[in-house]
Symmetry: C2
Subunit: 439 residues, 2 copies
Amino acid sequence: MNTVAAPQEGAIRVALLGCGTVGGEVARLLTEQAGELAARAGVPVELAGIAVRRPDKHPELPPELLTADAEKLVTSDEVDVVVELVGGIEPVRGWLLAALKAGKSVVTANKALLAEHSADLFEAADAAGADLYFEAAVAGAIPLLRPLRESLAGDRITRVMGIVNGTTNFILSAMDSSGAGYAETLDEASRLGYAEADPTADVDGYDAASKAAILASLAFHTRVTASDVHREGIADVTAADLAAARMLGRTVKLLAICERVTDDDGVESVSARVHPVMIPRSHQLAGVGGAFNAVYVEADAAGELMFYGQGAGGSPTASAVLGDLVAVARNRVVGGRGPRESAHAALPVRPMGQTPTRYHVSLSVADRAGVLAQVAQAFADHGVSIAAVRQSDVGDRASLVVVTHQAPDAALESTVDEIGRLDVVHEVVSVMRVEGEDQ
Amino acid sequence: MNTVAAPQEGAIRVALLGCGTVGGEVARLLTEQAGELAARAGVPVELAGIAVRRPDKHPELPPELLTADAEKLVTSDEVDVVVELVGGIEPVRGWLLAALKAGKSVVTANKALLAEHSADLFEAADAAGADLYFEAAVAGAIPLLRPLRESLAGDRITRVMGIVNGTTNFILSAMDSSGAGYAETLDEASRLGYAEADPTADVDGYDAASKAAILASLAFHTRVTASDVHREGIADVTAADLAAARMLGRTVKLLAICERVTDDDGVESVSARVHPVMIPRSHQLAGVGGAFNAVYVEADAAGELMFYGQGAGGSPTASAVLGDLVAVARNRVVGGRGPRESAHAALPVRPMGQTPTRYHVSLSVADRAGVLAQVAQAFADHGVSIAAVRQSDVGDRASLVVVTHQAPDAALESTVDEIGRLDVVHEVVSVMRVEGEDQ
């Protein structure tokens, strides 16, 4: 790293909060590509300070830039923009609100914070005339939020569906190719560095749910927070689920799905959910392996769009952060501002139970007359229409696979509960929602 | 269509030039979604006038908006933004320069004009402090230019490679699945409405070359015009080419390829080319069928990204136009400006002959000793290294397929010329460049 030069006149001065994998990469690129960035931004972009918990642990950084006092740094007169890469809600929320109130623009990758408190942050940004950018918060390097906020601003987005968590995608891809179980594959992912020491945020779907909240908010011009998102992780996905999927030419992915739904009475609402899903192997999301992310967007005029790329990692995330930094700098130069919060549609959030889904149910049943009739009756009793049935005999038992048409998720769930209690059903082998096919 | 209301105070007033498939859709959405658009833009967006060649041919449009005098409309005091959907270079170039000089912002889908005259247009926009947006000019509905101009502004793009012309992609996909020849498939495409009455601009690669020039300019911060782009169309692609590709697990696509190359002396240059390419069937671009577009972007920090969606059609293109219109309107509201031309890198354009490529050559040769040695010697004489050879006998002839490593395109071309003159070579069955594999 170069030593720090004297501040250049008119430069945009950046405070970096956090200097781990992503922050280190941002600091490196800001220094090494200073000339390029200045040419693109129309003004030099310089590091004014770096707040880390333990400055003595960062011998690789210029000591005169380091501080442990983030609170002081974010409102310093020496700072124009705060880049936040610490993560978590407190104390970061306080720092960023203070920065925005002091007129500093903010670039952040903090999905958890945005999924809970974006309204407060946008209000503070608006009041101060400052920018708030967060491309890196969802799908890492993939330019996804700017297209949603800007390119599609003249269109009506109806659906956003994608793989937004690399850890769970790595685990499900590995389970699919090896046939191994969840616990074993998680261990392997940890060994290879694809899962954190505490993998809860990823495997239980919290990370994906935060991203779903951000995507739904932008796509539907409605405030959707993480608590509005129905969330199921992958810890209950079994080798049997993947085997059942494989038999039907499908695979299993953890998807974030945000939808705008108009019900029979013409009432519009939105829903956001994260759960494992069976999709056909021919679906473009099925081929997205390892730690990659991919997001499908459907809009009235644009039709189907897909965005694909690396969803995490130091360099890819730094690319997104620097793109935002250049935008903030350009806005300063020309005297404009980035897009503000757009929550004018304010649509109600539909609970999961009322959201239309399709189920794949794989059962081990007694091999005798009348079993299929009983099972089919249970679906009919809940108003659920069956799309496909496949029965095959294994000794004195039979394997029965049922794929339904769309029905409210609550109806599907109660149907499965009831079927599990039938005497003729030995075991509910696998229950999973189905997406990416005709309804 | 509604009748025209009195102008709303503070509204952004739009002049529409051209009202065919895309223009009609823009006019419809501006009227039907006026409330939505106003909420997103922060200000009403209204049609102030529509210039068409024959106003009497448009009974579907409000007569008080129609005019045949585009030149007058674009500088009218009633107009804030000009949306140009006429296409072609003259007289459109003059209209848009006049509009920009009068301080009107411009949104255009005119790839031919931008590929030749973007420098003039950007200069006029800069001088007047007006915006120039053109998302719809490349890859229709796919948000591609905004990500390149803005999201990746802090990264270093090394490669842009994609399917940017739907007509040729439809024809090549159809030839691949039917085994039919080019002429027959073009006829079918015309019958189905996938090819224009005069298909020259598409099948000879002019359309894709214009888009390649625009993409290379944005990606590499360098002025690249259509005449800098090496261009080959698909008229010479034969059923034999597709059969040869199929035998090797490949398919043929017309790709636009823009690259930043650093030579052995550390000198940087860019290249832009459009030609048919063999790619592995496992490559993500191979699966892009019909009239869809898809573009791969590689950047130092972001890694590999892909963008996929509908590349043409009234609605998809209108989506891109309206996104730009909302951006222009927002910029007016907050007093800012969109991104300007960024040509600061000003890298030299490398001629095709010096651009490194790989060839696939399929030959019909005499089936006798020494033939392979002669062919291999011809490659060696031109300094071209061979990656793979496959020989198979058919009666007294043999089929010989050679795939090379990377070499300057001119060296590959001369090698093929020389091989074609060898006595032992009966026929050069297929010559095609190869992409999407290790070099």
